[in-house]
C-alpha cells in the first residue's frame, strides 16, 4: 500500500516525464472538447497578433510638415502597391470564375457568403508535416472554427482554432484537411465527377500539389479540368476554386487525381474568411431531400 501511494504521487510523475507526457497526449486526444492545448497555443501567438496592427502607427508629434507629408506618401505608395497586387489576384480569380460560369449557370448563381478580410501575421509551421498560417482576425470579428478561408475565389484552407483577435488557418496542404470537391469539364457541362480533396503534407507547400481521392474509376477525368468545392458535406460553399487536374492515375477501383493548386501560398498577405457555418445535420438532410424532389 505505501508503494502504491508512492507511485501515485506527483513526485513520481516528475521523475517519469515520459509517462507524464503520455498522459498529456492522451488528455489532448481524449478531451478534444476542452481544447486546452489549442488555447495554450493561441496564447503563444497573441503577442504577434497585437504586434501587427492594421495601419502602421508612429509618433507624429516630433515630425515637421514635410516629413509628415513624405511619410504619408510612403504609406500611400505601400498601400497602393498592396491594393494593386490584391486587385490583380482578384481579377485573375474573377476571370477564372467567369470562364467556368459560361457553361454552368449554377456556378454563376452560387453567391459567396459575406467575408471578413484578414492579414496574414505568421506563415509556417515548426513541423514539416503540418501546414498552417495565422491571421489577425478572430472571434471578435465573428470568426469561429471550421469557417472556410479564401483568397479571391480560391480555397486556401479553414479556420482551425480562433482566439479573440487572431486565428490559425489549416491550409489545404495539411494532412488533416479534407473537402468534398467536383471536377468540372467546361466542354461538357453537367458531367461532374466527385472526389475528396485531402492535404498530402506536401513538402513543397509554396507550390502545392494536391490529391483528390475516391473518384470513381468510370468517371472521365483528364488533365486541364478544373476542380471546385461542392456543398456535399456542407462544410464549404459550392464553387470555390481549388486547382487544375494535372495527372490521372487509375488505381484499384478508384482514380488517383493529382492537382496543381491555383495559388502560391507563401505569397499570401491578405485572405478572406467566409462567414459560412456548416449547417446542422437536419437542415443538411432537408436540403438534400428538396434537391432530390426538384
Amino acid at each position: 500500500m505505501p508503494r502504491l501511494r508512492e507511485k501515485l504521487s506527483l513526485l513520481w510523475l516528475v521523475q517519469h516525464p515520459l509517462v507524464a507526457t503520455c498522459i498529456l497526449l492522451a488528455l489532448t486526444l481524449l478531451l478534444p472538447y476542452t481544447r486546452v492545448a489549442e488555447r495554450l497555443k493561441l496564447v503563444t501567438f497573441l503577442p504577434l497578433a497585437h504586434a501587427a496592427p492594421d495601419v502602421p502607427q508612429a509618433e507624429e508629434s516630433g515630425l515637421s510638415e514635410t516629413e509628415r507629408a513624405r511619410r504619408e506618401l510612403l504609406f500611400e505608395r505601400e498601400r497602393v502597391a498592396q491594393l494593386a497586387a490584391e486587385n490583380a489576384a482578384l481579377a485573375a480569380a474573377l476571370a477564372g470564375a467567369r470562364a467556368l460560369a459560361e457553361p454552368d449557370p449554377a456556378f454563376a448563381a452560387a453567391v459567396l457568403p459575406p467575408a471578413v478580410p484578414a492579414r496574414v501575421i505568421f506563415h509556417g509551421d515548426a513541423s514539416t508535416w503540418r501546414h498552417c498560417l495565422w491571421i489577425n482576425r478572430g472571434r471578435a470579428h465573428g470568426i469561429v472554427e471550421f469557417m472556410p478561408v479564401v483568397s479571391g475565389r480560391t480555397l486556401i484552407g479553414r479556420v482551425y482554432m480562433a482566439g479573440d483577435n487572431h486565428a490559425c488557418v489549416q491550409l489545404v496542404t495539411d494532412p488533416g484537411f479534407a473537402a468534398s470537391c467536383v471536377i468540372v469539364d467546361p466542354a461538357r457541362p453537367g458531367a461532374a465527377a466527385r472526389g475528396v480533396l485531402r492535404g498530402n503534407a506536401s513538402a513543397r507547400p509554396h507550390f502545392p500539389r494536391l490529391e483528390l481521392e475516391d473518384v470513381p474509376l468510370g468517371d472521365s477525368v483528364s488533365a486541364g479540368q478544373r476542380v471546385l468545392t461542392s456543398d456535399f458535406s456542407g462544410q464549404f460553399p459550392p464553387g470555390l476554386n481549388v486547382g487544375v487536374v494535372r495527372e490521372v492515375i487509375p488505381q484499384a477501383g478508384f482514380l488517383q487525381v493529382r492537382l496543381e493548386a491555383d495559388l502560391d501560398l507563401a505569397r499570401l498577405d491578405v485572405v478572406q474568411v467566409l462567414l459560412h457555418k456548416r449547417p446542422e445535420l437536419e437542415a443538411q438532410a432537408l436540403a438534400l431531400l428538396r434537391r432530390g424532389k426538384g
Binding site: L24, G124, A126, S127, H206
Partner: protein
C-alpha cells in the same frame, strides 16, 4: 574508482539549462517555420530541430533524466498545428534511445555521428507520421517512410559539422564537459 568518479562527474548540476533550451527551441522553430521552407527543398529539407534534440539526448547532463528533450519537444509542439505532446513524446523516446546507443557507440566519431543522426531523424519522422495516421490524417506509409528516409539522409551529414560546432559554442559559453562526455546543461 574511475567509474565512481565518472558517475560523480555525470551528475554535475546543469547550468542555465531551461534558458538555453528555450532559446534554442524558439530559434529552431523560427528556422523551420520561416527560413527552411523558402529554400523549397521539398522532402530534402533537413530536420535540424531533431538533430539538436539528438544532441541534447547524447550530451546533456543526466540530471533531470529526459526532461530537457521533453521541453524541447513541447516548444516545437507549441509552434505546430499538431496535437500538443507529439514531439515531446517522440523526443523523450529519442533521448532514451540516444542514451542507450551512447553506451555502445562513440558519438564523437565522424563516422558514428551521421549514423546516429540518420537513425534518430528517420525514427522521429516515422513516429510523427504514425501519430498523424493514428489521428486519421496519415498520407500513406510508402510516401511517409520515403519522405522520412529522404529527410534523414539529408540531415545525417550535418551531424559531422553541427556536433563539433555545438561543442565549441558550449565551451565558449563556459559549459564544462565531464569525463563521461556530458556537458553541464
Amino acid at each position: 574508482m574511475n567509474a565512481a568518479r565518472a558517475f560523480l562527474e555525470r551528475t554535475v548540476a546543469p547550468r542555465a539549462r531551461w534558458r538555453l533550451l528555450l532559446a534554442a527551441g524558439l530559434g529552431l522553430s523560427a528556422l523551420h517555420a520561416l527560413a527552411l521552407p523558402r529554400l523549397n527543398l521539398g522532402e530534402y529539407t533537413p530536420d535540424l530541430f531533431t538533430l539538436f534534440a539528438l544532441y541534447v539526448g547524447l550530451y546533456a547532463s543526466r540530471q533531470g533524466r529526459y526532461w530537457p528533450s521533453l521541453v524541447l519537444g513541447l516548444v516545437r509542439d507549441f509552434f505546430s498545428l499538431g496535437l500538443l505532446g507529439v514531439y515531446a513524446v517522440l523526443y523523450s523516446l529519442l533521448h532514451k534511445a540516444a542514451s542507450r546507443a551512447r553506451t555502445k557507440l562513440d558519438p564523437d566519431s565522424p563516422l558514428v555521428a551521421p549514423l546516429l543522426a540518420f537513425g534518430g531523424v528517420f525514427a522521429v519522422n516515422a513516429g510523427c507520421h504514425f501519430l498523424l495516421a493514428a489521428g486519421g490524417a496519415g498520407v500513406g506509409w510508402n510516401a511517409a517512410l520515403g519522405r522520412a528516409a529522404a529527410t534523414a539522409a539529408v540531415t545525417a551529414p550535418f551531424a559531422i559539422a553541427v556536433f563539433p560546432l555545438l561543442h565549441w559554442v558550449l565551451a565558449r559559453l563556459g559549459y564544462v564537459r565531464s569525463q563521461g562526455g556530458f556537458f553541464n546543461f
